[in-house]
Symmetry: C2
Subunit: 376 residues, 2 copies
């Protein structure tokens, strides 16, 4: 399903075929946690800003509206009105970052809902059943995401348990895909590499899960406390053990420069709330660097957010207008800014793909790292 089109160093230009269409990689997935992109963005809006894959959250949708509701409505594609690929994360990360009163056992995790305190159990099988109900294109394995730094003994136990959980996820997904009631009988499953910041644990875990023949592999547990240098090192350490013929996904990362560096180290899939979250607070990514639109110097600035941008916001709105809308607490400020920042990320990935096609990725990266880090 994954076709490697071109390589430049470790950087890969690929294509990933799914029942909901072919994904051109490297790709940035746009996060729609609860079946909506925060900032009043709908799935159909995503088509206008170059999004290939939408990402929703198993944990959130299980709690509200309930995956049974989404199933009854015909799955997440119909529920959101989006016909392209959807990746659902497994709920693992949210169980560990949002839920309360967690109790981790071999069978799974007992926890309380962060919404109403309701007691819930989620293990590998439950996560697969929920994701099967949601009928996403790609399901993620149920894992434990530990924070960095973490004691080595705990990191070892946890990553080994996560590997055992993947075995159960693979078996359950196979069973679910065979059921008559299942909406997407071709649902794919990605495994997740864990092991904290310990190179040997990461490698052991990656070797073990590579044997389980998932449809793709993610590196999880990064951007959760460690330094950027450690993150890059872990990618470099794990990458040689990741199957060459399957997509690699770096979960929850990151800044534009993080993405350039990770592509350079062989990563194909990305997701991050940063572009939408920053936009909602007025922090705007541009081709010249990062700006804060609330700054007084933009009060009478008649330029678009980014003079080199073709997004719907930059085609129509002045910096002065967007600054005013933030000051007036108009929701529209957030929508226009999120549209721009997501377009910026999707477009950055399109430029990365074009440079890989032309064999000029190294040059593209060198020309942009300093600019993208700039604060305007």
């Amino acid at each position: 399903m994954f076709k490697l089109i071109k390589k430049e160093g470790s950087a890969r230009r690929g294509e990933f075929k799914t029942v909901h269409g072919t994904i051109q990689t490297p790709v940035f997935m746009n996060v729609g946690t609860a079946a909506a992109i925060k900032g009043a963005i709908s799935a159909p809006d995503l088509k206008k800003i170059g999004c290939q894959v939408e990402l929703s959250n198993t944990y959130h949708l299980h709690l509200r509206p309930g995956d049974d509701v989404v199933y009854d409505m015909g799955g997440l594609h119909k529920f959101m009105n989006w016909d392209r690929p959807i990746l659902t994360d497994s709920g693992g990360f949210q169980v560990f970052s949002l839920a309360k009163l967690r109790n981790i056992k071999e069978e799974g995790v007992y926890f309380s809902s962060h919404i109403d305190g309701r007691k819930i159990f989620m293990g590998p099988e439950e996560s697969m059943r929920i994701q099967s109900n949601l009928a996403s294109t790609i399901a993620m394995a149920f894992d434990e995401c530990i924070e960095n730094p973490c004691e080595k003994d705990y990191a070892r136990d946890s990553s080994q348990r996560t590997a055992r959980w993947l075995e159960r996820c693979v078996a359950e997904m196979k069973r679910l895909n065979g059921l008559e009631r299942t909406i997407n009988k071709n649902q794919l499953l990605f495994g997740i590499n864990q092991g904290g910041t310990y190179d040997d644990l990461r490698i052991d875990n990656m070797k073990r899960i590579a044997d389980l023949n998932a449809d793709g592999y993610a590196i999880g547990g990064l951007a959760v406390g460690e330094s950027t240098e450690e993150m890059y090192r872990i990618i470099e350490v794990v990458e040689p053990y990741m199957p060459k013929d399957k997509p690699r996904y770096l979960m929850g990362v990151g800044t534009p420069v993080n993405i350039l560096e990770a592509v350079d180290r062989g990563v194909d899939f990305f997701d991050c709330v940063m572009p939408s979250r920053n936009a909602r607070h007025g922090t705007i990514f541009t081709s010249e660097g990062v700006l804060n639109i609330l700054n007084a110097k933009y009060e009478r600035d008649s330029r678009p957010l980014d003079e080199h941008c073709s997004c719907p916001t930059c085609q129509s709105f002045l910096r002065a207008s967007i600054r005013h809308l933030f000051k007036a607490k108009e929701m529209l400020a957030m929508r226009l800014s999120v549209i721009h920042n997501l377009y910026f990320y999707n477009n950055l990935l399109a430029e990365i793909r074009a440079s890989l096609d032309n064999g000029t990725f190294g040059e593209f990266k060198r020309a942009n790292v300093e600019k993208l880090n700039r604060r305007l």
Copy 2:
């Protein structure tokens, strides 16, 4: 500029030519108080939902971002990215409903900003200068909007002062339209009829302001405390004294049925925050009546908000999804609902115009009043 195309009883089908395009009447204007339609709707979005005229508020834009900022950016059309007609209200209503520490004098009103307490003076000339800076298509006269009920003596004094203020507005607008610096040198001015619920005061006032040769006339001071029957009576009382060759605008009204009844009594222009405000709270107008999308019975309802609606929301989203988005406090819920409700109003007016064209308005009204009042 106003061309009467057809009449059916007192109901009028007309066309109003402006420098920003021709308005087909009767028309509903979509309210964008602070240069944005609440619910994350942009001016370009309004084109997709059949809006002919956008309405912004002088008071709000004077306080924030400042009409000087809007002027520097080239006027409200550029500031909002909207090339069709804009009507700006005069600030009168907001000074009386929002501002604090009001002191009304013959020269105008001294008050404190509701945002930061700053002391401000606004009289007829100030209102015209601000609206000239905003460069709207149609400016409204600066008036005092009294609440109903109101002592007759006060209502008389107030409506006479409002008439004197209109004289000053007419003179100042003429002066401003002649200035080199003015962005829209063809800015139009509508006068406003006041007089509370007193028929004789309303008629005296209307006769007096009709002589001042404004470009259109509004009935103000309704839907501010009086009964619906009183409102209809006032329209009937005033209408014979309104110039036949100029548009009539009923300010801040109202429900779909209010609009049908007012069209029947000879009104051409409407505006109201009801469709957008109700939408933001989940109250949805449909061709079968009004529904509250938060109701549990819509949890698994795979129909659109209105099965007979062609709006962007109804083309793409299920009741179950929109209900979920409200429950999950996703802004998108508001945007989708506001789009629907505004489309519903714009479309209702399009249907009213079509029925007037066909000489079937009476029939259309009879067929719809009961349905539109229904609670689902």
